[in-house]
Symmetry: C2
Subunit: 226 residues, 2 copies
DNA sequence: ACAAAAGTGTTTCGGCTACACCCATGC
DNA sequence: GCATGGGTGTAGCCGAAACACTTTTGT
């Protein structure tokens, strides 16, 4: 099924904004670019799209190569295709954002590639249009998190409502009322309370929660007003 | 600046969901495909992406070729890239939706290409994954229209609030309260009332309105609850 | 005793909904 | 006079926001 159509072909890439959560802060992965042009500059994680894979599969493959993880949560952001966005050649890039737990094992793998986790406010200047990609990704993440509870891919397996609230505060860069947040989130009915408590963050101890059937429960109720 | 990178190159296309509004109904353009495979099947408007244009520019060019119009309102929907989505070859397609006033002149141009305006409910089966594209586009349109007043590209230059409300009813396939819709929309402060009235739709006559400074005024207030 | 987070309850306020109601006019 | 859409007003409901208050326990 090759070459049915005769037309100019393009280099197609994927670039991934990898979000992580640590120390009550939203972070992203950037690494020092190894190719010219722009060698050494900070860049998002990216790679080429092959003939035998969709852009989603390409993104999964690229992320797997770097982190060793499979089935990473991915969301398409937008296509970036200005003809001179990459000074080296005409490259059409599909941006994705991904969620990843920041842990020791990933950290090591990530750092083998010269990659680092940056807090959003400490991010260095990024190469090409990668800052635009990040801005759009953040925008999309905020929109999504406003009507769907996110976090199962960023937080530990079990977590307290304090952790979840701090994550939301990091995403929106503003404080949320603890009582109201609790009522809202529990009212969604998509968290299951465990019998064990976390004793590290408070004297009284806070119950752990888990997401029921991760991924489903797309309940589209408004969580926070943008 | 060519061939800096050595990697497989892909056919990249754009496909456009062209929305129009007529007879209190939302419509889309489909036409009979001229290429094999799928020749004769109903298809969205599409074309290849050249080396010297972004995907947005490609979409504008394709729409211009068919309608003669320039500067059409366009919004990126999503990339469709399953490897077998087009049985003829591996084609990565970027879907867009566009707004277009349905008028005599466009109609003629459109029909020269074997294209027709279809009401959403009367749409024939579409080729490949074009129905998926349409579904996603509708989804995105509904989301956008819920927090930004749309319509300046679909309605005539000046329009009554009845027309605007009917457009929204067509988009969401449900009835909206006339009084509440009026208050909500006028409260946004992005419409300018003209001194002339439309006498065709009611005995009393309804004032015409225009969008202030079309395009700006992105005021992000919620218009309707999804 | 105090601080700090957990967890629950309460009050207030604003916006949305669902109407009621008058206006203007062609039939 | 009556039907139809234009246009305005309003009572009631519901959810969000703000915040008071009680619990628990480490220091």
């Amino acid at each position: 099924m090759e070459q049915t159509y005769q037309h100019a072909r393009q280099l197609v890439a994927v670039d991934c904004i990898i979000f992580g959560y640590e120390d009550a802060d939203l972070k992203v992965v950037a690494f020092q670019r190894k190719l010219n042009p722009g060698r050494g500059a900070w860049s998002l994680v990216g790679g080429w799209v092959n003939h035998d894979e969709s852009v989603e599969e390409a993104a999964q493959r690229v992320l797997h190569e770097i982190t060793g993880l499979e089935n990473i949560f991915l969301e398409q952001v937008e296509v970036f295709s200005k003809i001179d966005r990459d000074p080296g050649d005409r490259v059409i890039s599909v941006a994705f954002y991904a969620f990843m737990r920041i842990g020791q094992q990933d950290k090591k793998l990530v750092e083998e590639y010269g990659a680092h986790w940056f807090s959003l406010r400490e991010l260095p200047e990024l190469v090409f249009d990668h800052q635009d990609m990040l801005d759009k990704a953040l925008d999309k993440l905020r929109r999504k998190a406003s009507y769907q509870l996110v976090g199962s891919e960023l937080l530990p397996d079990r977590f307290t409502l304090l952790q979840l609230r701090k994550l939301y505060e990091a995403i929106y860069q503003r404080e949320l009322d603890p009582g109201n947040f609790r009522k809202k989130v529990l009212g969604l009915g998509i968290l299951r309370q465990l019998s064990s408590k976390d004793m590290s963050e408070s004297k009284k101890g806070a119950y752990y929660f888990k997401f029921k059937k991760a991924g489903t429960g797309q309940n589209m109720e408004r969580i926070i007003k943008l």
